[in-house]
């Protein structure tokens, strides 16, 4: 539904030119929700604005629903934009208009008559849970309600694609959840294709089918969400996920932990379980099979849609040969093992 091909965007020229996007290739399949995640300044905002040409790429092709936007004239582009709804971090509602009139605005711009507009707007207010607020002004609404108005407004022209520019970043966690649920609902009910940008892993985890990590104007990795969390291919993605999961090593352990090992130290390992291995009683199994003790220092299980991701930090207590054997065994099954240090045993 959306195809970006080798998108480059530079600001300024000559020596002072700044490259915001550096050869972006992205494909979003019809009916899916795709997320682009990255830190501020990575180029997310520019990227999403290139999809409906609010920002014109310096070079590259943008195609939405089979139409090459980059080759359209002004009138053609305006018509194409009716097929692409957009919502924003700060909602961008018109304070001078009521909720109803805000949702009606894109239809007025399309020169639809009043009766037709009414027919479109009322069901949208129903869908977004705003039916009782039609005559209120944005100033009387909460942030979540404002974003609902913005969503209804973006859907008014019956677009095929919805672009979400940090749509939940200004909202509290509870409201974020309800807005994400609404986005998922319209994705499923209306078959709408959604492309969103965010710096919040939670958003990606909750509703995206596909995720791309952007860093320094480049897409570092694009993957199905479950895979992205359980088997990130790039170092940048791994770092991002670790930051998000905040699996911290207890400070007293960190104080005792050293880089090197000798006969009297025990390895501390970080284990990452995929969906296949997370349900297995691994610890007791290892303990029985290799005759060692395993002390669990930290553990966390994350549900990422249909996937499960387990993370654990554990100390392997046994003689060096046995612990080496255990680590080798764990690596041979569906388990990601990283030795993060060694602690002296407490004899």
């Amino acid at each position: 539904m959306i195809t970006l091909e080798n998108i480059v965007k530079t600001y300024g020229s000559g020596e002072r030119a700044v490259t915001a996007l550096d050869g972006i290739d992205l494909h979003v399949a019809a009916g899916t929700i795709s997320g682009v995640i990255g830190l501020s300044g990575a180029g997310k905002s520019t990227l999403i604005r290139c999809v409906n040409l609010l920002e014109r790429p310096t070079s590259g092709r943008v195609e939405v629903d089979g139409v090459e936007l980059t080759s359209l004239d002004t009138a053609g582009l305006r018509a194409a934009r009716h097929q692409i709804g957009m919502i924003f971090q700060h909602f961008n509602l018109l304070d001078s208009r009521t909720v109803y009139a805000n949702v009606a605005l894109p239809l007025e711009l399309m020169k639809m008559d009043k009766a037709q507009i009414r027919e479109r707007v009322l069901p949208l207010l129903e869908l977004t849970g705003l039916a009782s607020m039609a005559e209120r002004h944005p100033a009387q609404l909460s942030g979540g309600q404002k974003q609902r108005v913005a969503i209804a407004r973006a859907l008014a022209s019956r677009p095929k694609v919805l672009l979400c520019d940090e749509a939940t970043s200004a909202l509290d966690p509870h409201t974020t959840t309800s807005i994400l649920a609404l986005l998922k609902e319209i994705n499923q009910k209306l078959g709408l294709t959604i492309l969103l940008i965010t710096h919040e892993m939670e958003v990606v985890k909750t509703i995206c089918d596909q995720v791309s990590l952007i860093e320094g104007g480049k897409l570092v990795e694009t993957a199905e969400v479950g895979r992205f969390f359980t088997a990130p291919a790039s170092r940048a993605a791994r770092a991002f996920i670790n930051d998000y999961l905040e699996l911290e090593i207890p400070p007293e352990l960190l104080a005792r932990m050293g880089e090197s090992s000798d006969g009297r130290t025990h390895p501390v390992v970080r284990l990452t379980f995929g969906t296949e291995s997370v349900d297995r009683p691994l610890i007791s199994h290892l303990s029985r099979r290799f005759d060692i003790d395993i002390s669990i220092l930290q553990a966390r299980v994350e549900a990422i849609q249909s996937h499960t991701l387990g993370l654990m930090i554990a100390e392997l207590i046994g003689d060096p040969e046995t612990t080496a054997e255990v680590i080798a065994y764990m690596q041979s099954i569906d388990l990601d093992v990283e030795v993060i240090g060694h602690v002296p045993g407490n004899e």
Binding site: R81, F88, D95, P106
Partner: protein, 221 residues
């Protein structure tokens, strides 16, 4: 204070008040309309905006600045030939309306540009994402969203014009300013002087109150 004035003087004051109102109203309406156009033009042609025309923007900016920097009393005299051409005379109410309007247009334009600058650029971006044309952005988004600021701008303009019209009165335009100078100042008639000033204060108050009321009604914040 109106007590003890001759019937003829009261009649003169009444006529002068009407003259001032006519001068202010006519020059106000014309300058607000033309100033609005010029202000919108300044806004949309600024580099980075949706109808960016840097050269035109620079040119309009210079014209507006020149217009605003000439003192009114000098402008009034300087454009006498233009005034004659337009209304056939250089004295009287009609003649005063011309310089009042000319002086107020750049003033209004800057005030309009200022209130449009207050509209969040995000709203324009949203309108563009909906496929709005430039006129649609101006009429459906910019002007309605800047309504409060625009009403304030109109209020300030009308009040400024009351002051200017009194100045015009000093050089033969008629109105309250002329009465104040001719009878109050030149003939040391302090009752007349105080009366003209009082009437002008009341006019300013009224315009300000109406303006404030309309701003409150226009805003939904």
């Amino acid at each position: 204070m109106f007590l003890g004035m001759s019937e003829a003087m009261l009649e003169r004051l009444w006529q002068a008040t009407l003259d001032t109102l006519v001068m202010v109203a006519v020059s106000g309406v014309i300058s607000i309309l033309l100033g609005l156009l010029l202000g919108v033009a300044l806004y949309v042609t600024r580099p980075g905006r949706f109808l960016a025309r840097p050269l035109l923007h620079g040119l309009l900016g210079i014209i507006v600045n020149v217009g605003r920097s000439i003192p009114f009393i000098i402008l009034m005299v300087a454009i006498v030939p233009f005034t004659r051409l337009l209304v056939g005379s250089s004295i009287g109410i009609n003649a005063a309306i011309v310089p009042l309007t000319v002086a107020a247009i750049p003033f209004v334009a800057r005030l309009v540009e200022g209130s449009l600058n207050e509209v969040s650029p995000g709203l324009i971006e949203a309108a563009q994402s909906m496929g709005a044309t430039a006129p649609q952005i101006i009429l459906k988004v910019l002007l309605p969203e800047a309504r409060g600021g625009l009403i304030t701008a109109a209020t300030i303009t009308l009040i400024t014009l009351i002051g200017y019209s009194a100045m015009a009165g000093a050089v033969g335009a008629g109105g309250l300013g002329a009465i104040g100078i001719n009878y109050g100042y030149n003939r040391y008639d302090s009752a007349v002087m105080i009366s003209t000033v009082t009437i002008m204060v009341v006019l300013v108050q009224l315009i300000q109150m109406i303006g404030d009321y309309l701003v409150r009604k226009a805003q939904h914040k």
